[in-house]
Amino acid sequence: MTADTVTVGSFACELGDLECKPADLPDFEQWWQAESNGADFTTMGCGTFRKMSGPVSGYVVATVQRTLAERGLPARQVDRVVFATTDANLAQVDRDFVAGVLEAAGLVSCVPVLMSFQQCCASVTALGHGCALFDDPAVRNVLVVAFDAAATDRERVRQFALFGDAAASCLISRDGGGELRLASSAVQIDYEGLLGRDSMVSRQQVARDTLDAVLGTTGTSIAEVTMVFPTNLYQPLTSFNAMVAGIHKSKLHFAEMLYRVGHCGNCDWMLNLIDYRDKVGLRRGEQYLSHASAPGFFAGGLLVGV
């Protein structure tokens, strides 16, 4: 992993500006029945979700500006930006996306790259990639920017989650200033899951293998992790997935954000971390786990307070 002086922080987000309820969706009941086979939606832990009223690029620029403002870092001092989004959202990354975002955010000396094809795990991988960029001694500041927005309302209602829209970002810096250090990260594939043939057993296996890879690198046990920031699947699913991976549900911080904003694709772990930071704080020496799951993938990152 990267040198101890490389820190991660200045987490920020820009949620979709329209607050909606599932019942606001025109055919919600019909869609939910089709997806859930008759399950009771009121037990899913969802209250509202956020919807973007404009192009996603505007929200990406806004979260970048928040991150830079929190650090007081001029945009021209950012060397690299790692964007991350889900496969379904790639269509929103058109040929003008990068130029428009870099120009609007003032990122005039910044090399962009996009991390995708890992669904909701993309931003965890982006964080690891962003830290690895510091192998180049010339790199001093790297932005990681996750974004996801459903293309249609029908796509919001799924068997495993209710989708909302958000962008979230953080800054990785060589000169410190962040609250965390990335100690290790890993992503693994559940090939059968990628093809839609996964089972509870295969999902459990990839979850446990990924956790072993993340925690084994540093010899950390899950009991030593203070809090886990997971993907906002429906509450029973998130709790169950954690339990079968060996994570006690008391270590999960997600329920309130799930209730307020739903599942915002690959942004979730950052949204949950921000919520926890604002309410509890990130403490020196304590360990936190970013924890993302998707059909076919599982990813985790061990973050240590500095």
Binding site: G38, A39, M200, V201, F240, V244, K249
Partner: protein, 95 residues
């Protein structure tokens, strides 16, 4: 496994499903005759809901154990997990 005990486990599963919103249409006869969760028309989400709700209904003190996952594709397996949750709950109550 003793056939009588299997029948009791299945009856417990049927009774619990009957008490849960969204599962009322599944009859005790269907539970008695089914071999897999697919036979009952249960998706993985629904099986997870059954397990999470059962843990809550038995006091919410115990977590789902990772080694139980492999049992969730067939009806006897689901019913036996519920029996194990009951056993844990009773052990806790006695101690």
């Amino acid at each position: 496994m003793c056939p009588d005990l299997v029948a009791v486990d299945r009856r417990n599963l049927a009774d619990f499903l009957a008490s849960q919103p969204g599962f009322e249409a599944i009859t005790a006869e269907q539970v008695a005759a089914a071999r897999t969760r697919d036979d009952l028309g249960l998706s993985s989400l629904q099986v997870i809901l059954v397990m999470v709700n059962y843990l809550a209904a038995t006091g919410g003190e115990h977590a789902f154990r990772p080694d139980w996952v492999a049992r969730l594709d067939d009806v006897d397996g689901i019913a036996s997990v519920m029996r194990d949750i009951d056993s844990l709950t009773m052990s806790s109550a006695r101690s």
